[in-house]
Symmetry: C2
Subunit: 403 residues, 2 copies
């Protein structure tokens, strides 16, 4: 596997564009992703009970045949809590693009992100659909990545190439995140394209697995925004032979890498974030418990502010772990603070529920790094999980007070 | 019922003191509450699985006979994650006070709040026990309230008088809070005294009920700090006759008022808080669901920062409600924004899941107030609950980054 250029347009037959249509004051706010031939398609959607109109429309377009040829996305307006009018508007976005591309409206998927409760400015969008299609290019991945941003400070894209049989298969993607992500409800969108020839069932399996090891490690399960969406299109233009089990593994590795890279970019660019934090929970009774504890630590404002303050106040971690699950036993609990990717060399600060004498200067140096690792062992079983998160800064408050 | 002066020393036979022993740099950090005769006593304790030593010692002292005559409290050190040494230290605090007061160590209860993982400076505490007892006075409630503070900016005390038969019965208390309280894990301590003659079973019932309608509405159940404790002492010196059912109601009303007053003071003085926010959830399937939704909205950093920014971005509320419970139905959801205590006149912004045209200027004015009410109706049933919370400010981050 090698990282290549091209992002969402790296795979053969994919074009993209990103333009300004006027929902934002000045910046790009409308994106299009297009495959020259119809693609296999599948998606993962928010578990939120309040669902934006584009979620409903995209789900209905996929339900029929798991096929799509284009994705149209706007930022700065979520088209959520907009009732039947919102549904009509989302459909019109698809129709408008489909008309210009001479494809079926059902083969166009739609996504939105931004403020909730306002009608989409359909006139602005329709007026620019011709331009949006005109600008389609194999060099415009970055423009598309920019057009889906809200409070993101950087566009997010990645692409890789793997060999499947004799064929070179490419997988690429763009994403937007922002929000504190962990206690989140800030919309996460990710779009992935590949020229792999792969059947729809396998594509879905691979996407679910990749998301579980990437996007779902940065957001609590079932606790997503009204607009969250991950879509993948596979157009088969790499012309690889039917994948063997080994080939499928290679494909999954590529897809996992793309998803994890995008997920990490989202955390690094989270609103006001100054630290990338990896929280490992080990010796849990089961995966559910490990995840629960990891997410509770990751979401604790007291832990997050201590990380921002570069203050190795691990007592807050112990307190959060104790409150996270009734099965936690104080005298089985260990906490290690260590640099990310060097967790085994972490400094043990709590042993069997009792504070240990740790080198305070060393701990303070550790907390000054941009990447911090926290390891918690529960002494209850054999299961482990981890989660990526960031700190909570004054900048986060500033951004979200205004936005 | 009338509000009277005196706080924790308002009830007959109760004395208090608050001094500086040297755990904090300069401010008071050691408090004593004392009844001239042994009192009925009961308490409520943290559900956290990591429990501080004073929690364990106080629980064991109460278990025997539900009796106590004194409460000793230190701030600035939680005596938590301190192992068997911590237990010995907490016991010694009781013994030291008991020795000076010539009472049994078992009749002394102990509480701590502050940093986790450091041994109590026992020498400093012991050296000042004589002074602590010497300073006992019926005028020193405020000193005691000050001595239990951590990042609180104001001491918190209240007392009331009610008539039970011919007797005047007094109930008073002090508390400390701080922390964002809702996503909390900042220690909450509350101590309440009364001269009512009341049997222990009734005292416990009344305390549990009062806490459910006050302290438990500002903190998620089972998700408390390592040191949370609410204690009540009743010494019977009001010499009221055995309470009738009516009398018991009067007593409960007084206790409820004291607890709710202290709980509200805690929210108003939460770290960096600039708004007092009341969140009402109605038409829930059951109380558990109503509470769950209310707490999720109250704990959402995105909602809290919008409140701080005086930004009536109710879309965030809708998104949090949709993520809070799988039973939520988008087309049954209404949201009203209104001034606290005037909820019926709230402005409806979401009707059956669809945004309504609300007067934006009016909403902005509303969000500039110091007290804000949010009302959410789920359309699922007949149950309701509410929760008190505050906003999330840059000051909160500043305080917690350093502390």
């Amino acid at each position: 596997m090698r990282i290549i250029k091209g992002g969402i347009t790296a795979a053969r037959g994919f074009l993209a564009s990103g333009i300004h249509c006027g929902i934002k004051y000045k910046k790009r706010d409308l994106a299009l992703i297009y495959s020259v031939i119809p693609s296999s398609a599948c998606g993962l959607f928010t578990q939120n009970r309040v669902k934006a109109a584009p979620i409903k429309v995209t789900q209905s377009h996929l339900r029929e045949n798991n096929r799509a040829q284009a994705i149209v996305v706007n930022s700065a307006n979520a088209n959520c809590c907009t009732g039947s009018q919102g549904i009509r508007d989302a459909r019109r976005m698809c129709e408008s693009v489909a008309g210009r591309l001479c494809i079926k409206p059902d083969d166009v998927l739609v996504a939105s992100t931004g403020i909730i409760g306002q009608r989409l400015p359909m006139k602005k969008i329709k007026n620019k659909t011709a331009l949006l299609v005109e600008r389609l290019s194999s060099l415009a991945s970055l423009e598309a990545a920019e057009a889906i941003m809200t409070t993101d400070t950087l566009p997010k894209q990645i692409s890789v190439e793997v060999k499947i049989g004799r064929a070179k298969v490419k997988v690429g993607g763009i994403a937007k995140g922002a929000g504190m992500i962990s206690p989140h409800l800030a919309t996460m969108l990710a779009f992935i394209t590949t020229d792999a020839a792969i059947d729809k069932r396998r594509l879905k399996t691979a996407l679910e697995d990749a998301a579980d090891n990437s996007f779902n490690l940065i957001t609590v399960e079932g606790d997503t925004s009204t607009n969250d969406m991950v879509l993948v299109l596979a157009n088969g233009l790499a012309a690889n032979k039917v994948m063997t089990t080994e080939d499928f593994k290679v494909f999954r590795k590529a897809l996992n890498f793309v998803c994890l890279s995008l997920a990490k970019m989202i955390i690094k660019d989270a609103e006001g974030a100054s630290k990338f934090v990896e929280i490992h929970v080990e010796e849990a009774r089961d995966i559910v418990q490990a995840k629960k504890v990891a997410f509770r630590v990751a979401n604790s404002p007291l832990v997050k502010t201590a990380l921002f303050g570069e203050n190795p106040n691990w007592g807050r971690i112990a307190a959060v772990v104790g409150a996270a699950d009734k099965a936690v036993r104080e005298n089985g609990l260990n906490i290690y603070l260590g640099a990310e990717k060097a967790l085994s060399r972490g400094i043990k600060v709590l042993g069997k529920g009792v504070a240990l004498k740790a080198d305070q200067q060393k701990l303070c140096r550790l907390f000054k790094r941009a990447r911090i690792g926290i390891r918690i062992t529960l002494g209850l079983g054999k299961f482990a999980s981890h989660v990526f998160t960031c700190d909570l800064s004054d900048k986060y408050v500033e951004i979200n007070a205004k936005y």
